[in-house]
């Protein structure tokens, strides 16, 4: 596929991610921090986010599966996930975390379980979207083109 077509695809895809609320302005902030001296900055930070989130989601699953639920521990994990998703602009994930924390405060196990399902869903969605985005960027670079600034 031609560079121009790939670039067009990337622009459309990225726009849709913002439009549909997967990403917010904080992602743009990250993109602006990337430059010639740090060409892989966004991928590096997002990769850290993926690692960190999957660990947290596993911990949450285990903790919520206990006989007696430690809501404080759950809240601490969700707080972390909320923070990291907010800092990379993963808006939908962050929003579920807000609701999740409310259920923690109430000690509502059912509510927490529902939120855990939702946050996993949103996380895997945004992970998939971002991986697609990075692949598109790679294709453009390999075809000799440059990433369009949005």
């Amino acid at each position: 596929m031609e560079v121009v077509q790939l670039q067009g695809r990337l622009i459309e895809f990225t726009s849709s991610l913002f439009r549909e609320g997967f990403l917010d302005d904080q992602y743009t902030q990250l993109q602006q921090l990337q430059d010639e001296s740090n060409p892989d900055f966004v991928v590096e930070v997002v990769s850290l986010f993926f690692e960190d989130s999957e660990r947290l989601l596993n911990d949450l699953t285990t903790t919520l599966g206990q006989q007696i639920v430690d809501f404080k521990k759950i809240d601490a994990h969700v707080h972390q996930l909320k923070g990291s998703s907010a800092s990379i602009g993963a808006q939908r994930v962050k929003n579920v975390c807000v609701a999740f924390r409310n259920f923690c405060e109430e000690g509502n196990r059912e509510g927490c379980l529902t939120c855990l399902q939702q946050v996993k869903h949103e996380y895997y969605l945004v992970k998939n979207k971002l991986e697609t985005l990075f692949k598109l960027e790679q294709q453009i670079l390999q075809a000799g083109g440059s990433i369009p600034l949005m």
Partner: protein, 145 residues
């Protein structure tokens, strides 16, 4: 050698590796020199102030930290506790401290500001927030020479 005097050295403290990385990049992009720490204890070590309050003023001077920016919610020592330790230290109390938090809790903000924090910033931080940090440092620079 002359130009180097203007380069401000910021100590950034946050337990999240993602937030440390973002903050470090933002600070470097604003031409600050950056040292990061993952918790309050590490931060105090960088500042030459170890737990038993034994000070090595030589180390503190070598590091020449012009500003400390710290997360509030950290396991072990909170950002507020770190602020208190810094303000209670004769050698460190002049260093401006900025506290960040993802939670907008007025009582928390008030307490931090009353106990010596220069500013309280809401996370996630943006480039414009980081650029503003310079405003808190000018006064201490005047005292240095």
């Amino acid at each position: 050698m002359g130009d180097r005097e203007e380069e401000l050295h910021v100590l950034a403290v946050d337990d999240s590796v993602i937030e440390r990385k973002s903050l470090e990049r933002m600070l470097k992009k604003s031409d600050y020199k950056v040292t990061t720490a993952e918790n309050g204890l590490r931060a105090l070590e960088h500042l030459g102030l170890v737990e038993d309050a034994k000070q090595t003023t030589l180390e503190a001077n070598d590091m020449k930290i012009n500003l400390i920016i710290t997360d509030y919610c950290m396991p072990g020592m909170t950002g507020y506790e770190l602020l208190k330790k810094i303000k209670e230290s004769p050698s460190l109390k002049k260093i401006p401290v900025v506290i960040m938090s993802s939670e907008n809790i007025p009582t928390r903000i008030k307490k931090c500001l009353e106990d010596g924090a220069e500013e309280f910033m809401l996370k996630p931080l943006q480039q414009s927030d980081v650029l503003r940090l310079r405003n808190h440092v000018t006064e201490t620079l005047v005292f240095k020479h």
